[in-house]
């Protein structure tokens, strides 16, 4: 590490005991959320039956006391959706932490520099293309590696938009974070306008487009999970290895540079990793709002700003939150999960603004 021995006290991290306790606690919360979310749904599968079904899957001689459809509901319908919620929530929670540290902006979220706009354009293009160009209707059902065209284009769109933002921001010389933020805003606005244009001409695909924009975990199956999981988990793990750098960024540009960190490549690496994670998450579930904004703040309030804990706990917390939000969405019936997270997130966001204004400090 470039951080020298002299800075060890600044970046040394918490004691091992506290780290174990906090991360272990977050893991328990996530596991409990997953168990509850797999247990509850619009069709009732009792706890003894659920345990029996799992036992049978593991090869135990359990008498079949459940409806023949129950195993399908648990393993083919509910579990992939819950796992997708955990994966997407983890990615958004972790990427949110990174963007807030990078941009030193409490309003930053994983979408802020263009990922969401780019991914939306990709997905909306994929969904509306057969409507706009009838000749494409024949190819609309084709999948690539078992993944739908919308997911592939959303992933590419998220990466592409951020690549464009980085390239433009770089033109102005040594890119600073304000330039990056403003460029991201400008590119997002432009892309969002194109998305809006496609939206009004999407005709019969309108409901699908809007459903995607609001975010939904319904379309995630095992093939999609198998592709998205390495991207989200691998990217998050690589980000976690950079916790010292993230802590240094909190000190400000001059302090970090004074401590021997060359900011330009470090930031670029962080932006690319966080964008990779975000794009994979968005491709899987659409633009689910607020998780990436709210979870890092919640976790920071609970355990403080040290990224060694903040990053992993935000991943676990984001996962648990989205699993529970999606369960609520499923139980209410027909509500996109993005609506549920926004219903939780927006009031929290307002409170945060109020609190920040009252304290005259930025969190």
């Amino acid at each position: 590490m470039r951080a020298s021995v002299a800075t060890r006290s600044l970046v040394g991290g918490p004691s091992l005991g506290r780290a174990t306790l906090v991360i272990g606690g977050a893991l328990v919360v996530l596991l409990a959320s997953v168990v509850v979310a797999v247990g509850l749904g619009s069709v009732e599968v009792g706890l003894p039956e659920a345990i029996g079904i799992i036992g049978q899957r593991l090869g135990l001689p359990v008498p079949e006391t459940w409806a023949s459809t129950a195993p399908t509901i648990l393993f083919e319908v509910r579990l992939p959706r819950v796992l997708a919620g955990a994966l997407v929530g983890a990615g958004l929670g972790g990427a949110g932490v990174v963007f807030q540290a990078l941009l030193r902006n409490p309003m930053a979220d994983p979408y802020v520099i263009g990922t969401a706009a780019g991914a939306s354009l990709g997905a909306v293009l994929a969904i509306t293309a057969p409507v706009l160009v009838p000749a494409l209707a024949l190819g609309a059902g084709t999948a690539w590696l078992g993944i739908g065209l919308a997911q592939v284009l959303a992933f590419a769109g998220g990466l592409g938009a951020v690549a464009l933002v980085l390239a433009i921001a770089r033109q102005g010389g040594r890119s600073n974070m304000v330039t990056l933020l403003l460029t991201g805003y400008a590119v997002s606005s432009l892309v969002a306008a194109v998305v809006a244009l496609l939206l009004v001409s999407s005709g019969r695909a309108l409901a699908s487009v809007v459903g995607w924009l609001l975010g939904s975990l319904g379309g995630a199956g095992y093939p999609e999970l198998a592709v998205a999981a390495p991207l989200v988990l691998g990217g998050s793990a690589l980000l976690l290895f950079r916790w010292r750098t993230l802590n240094l960024l909190l000190l400000g540009d001059e302090a970090a540079a004074g401590l021997g960190v060359d900011l330009v490549p470090v930031r670029r690496g962080l932006v690319l990793l966080a964008t990779l994670v975000t794009s994979a998450a968005v491709a899987l579930a659409g633009t689910i709002g607020f998780v990436g904004l709210v979870v890092p703040h919640l976790v920071r309030l609970a355990i403080g700003p040290d990224h060694r804990l903040l990053l992993p706990v935000s991943c676990l917390g984001g996962a648990a939150l989205l699993v529970m939000a999606d369960m609520a969405a499923r139980l209410v019936g027909g509500v996109p999960v993005g609506v549920v997270t926004a219903l939780i997130g927006a009031p929290f966001f307002l409170w945060l603004l109020h609190r920040a204004a009252g304290a005259r400090t930025t969190p």
């Binding site: 749904g41 619009s42 069709v43 409806a67 023949s68 459809t69 399908t72 509901i73 083919e76 319908v77 509910r78 309003m107 979408y111 969401a116 706009a117 939306s120 057969p130 409507v131 706009l132 009838p134 209707a137 609309a140 059902g141 739908g148 805003y185 997002s188 606005s189 892309v191 969002a192 998305v195 809006a196 939206l199 009004v200 001409s201 999407s202 005709g203 019969r204 695909a205 309108l206 409901a207 699908s208 809007v210 459903g211 924009l213 609001l214 319904g218 379309g219 199956g221 633009t287 709002g289 499923r330 019936g333 027909g334 509500v335 609506v339």
Partner: protein, 321 residues
């Protein structure tokens, strides 16, 4: 944050999308693959059918339990005397009355996959053209259910769809009898309006925040108005909307208020009071008609003929005394 302004009107569009869904069975005929053809051997299972999405669907045995993901499909199944085989329908279903007792598996236009699996049907009747999202069709197919996608792009195809479903559920004779009766009634309508002047007809699907929605160009609804002896004034084939100035330039001789079936505040008087609408011939001549039959006009099921007759009576009252 302003970059995400598009999200702000997303919920509004969702409402609009849901509101428009049952009323827009339209769309480019080019999107609709050739109509269902049937396997040669009648009454024999396993039976392989080609649905409206061009998919091959194989039924191992006569379906004893059916899930319908669209009200039009429900109506077709019930018209074929197979209502008792339905184990799941949509919360939009309202006809015939007995479907009220069948569990809903589609709630607020969203298919609850768990509930479909719980119903464990032998056959799922989906709607095409994204009314049932293609992702849902894929998921249900992957779960091993035979999913027949039903989507008529014209009145003729409604009849074909009735015969396709009749084939699928081993009710060919009932289907043939039903379509024969429907064909007779369609013929009676076209005979009745034959040779009559074709009034320029504007069918109002809805007016929302100043945007006027109507039959899209080349749409199902436009073809029905045409069959009923009217000259349809159509909107954009993708957005189903028409600008007020285009509507004024087209100068409808007859306005049919489909939205009045759901909103009592839509009346001929309210239409006359709208800014600019007073200049329209139909308004000046008092030819603005409430169409309470909108649900059957826009639902491509067996009662579509009722809708056609209602349209013909509204367009040519003089031919139906």
């Amino acid at each position: 944050m302003r970059a995400r302004r598009v999200w702000a009107f997303a919920p509004l569009l969702l409402i609009l999308a849901v509101a428009c869904q049952p009323t827009t069975p339209s769309l480019s005929p080019s999107l609709s693959p050739p109509t269902a053809s049937t396997a040669p051997s009648a009454g024999a299972y396993p039976l392989t059918l080609t649905d409206d999405a061009g998919r091959q669907v194989t039924l191992p045995a006569e379906p004893e339990s059916i899930v319908s993901l669209a009200p039009s499909n429900t109506e077709i199944v019930c018209a074929l005397n197979a209502c008792d085989r339905l184990v799941g329908v949509t919360d939009f279903d309202d006809y015939p009355a007995e479907v009220a007792d069948i569990p809903d598996v589609v709630i607020f236009a969203v298919v609850d996959i768990e509930l479909v699996v719980d119903a464990d049907p032998d056959l799922i009747l989906a709607a095409g053209n994204e009314l049932t999202p293609s992702a849902v069709i894929t998921e249900l197919t992957d779960l091993g259910y035979p999913v027949l996608v039903v989507y008529p792009a014209s009145l003729d195809e409604v009849l074909d769809n009735i015969e396709l479903i009749g084939e699928a559920i081993n009710a060919r004779d009932q289907a043939a009898a039903l379509t024969a009766e429907m064909e007779d009634r369609i013929q009676a309508v076209t005979d009745a309006v034959a040779g009559a002047a074709r009034p320029r007809t504007f069918y109002e699907v809805s007016v929302f925040e100043g945007t006027i929605y109507t039959a899209g160009r080349d749409s199902f609804l436009a073809s029905l108005i045409d069959l009923a002896g009217g000259g349809p004034i159509t909107g954009d084939p993708l957005t189903f909307s028409i600008a007020l100035e285009d509507l004024l330039a087209a100068d409808p001789e007859l306005i049919l208020l489909g939205d009045a079936a759901y909103d009592a505040s839509v009346t001929p008087e309210a239409v006359a009071a709208r800014q600019g609408w007073g200049a329209i011939s139909a308004v000046q001549n008092g030819r603005v008609v409430v169409m309470l039959e909108d649900p059957v006009i826009t639902r491509p099921g067996p009662r579509i003929v009722d809708g056609l007759e209602a349209l013909a009576r509204a367009i040519h009252p003089e031919r139906f005394d």
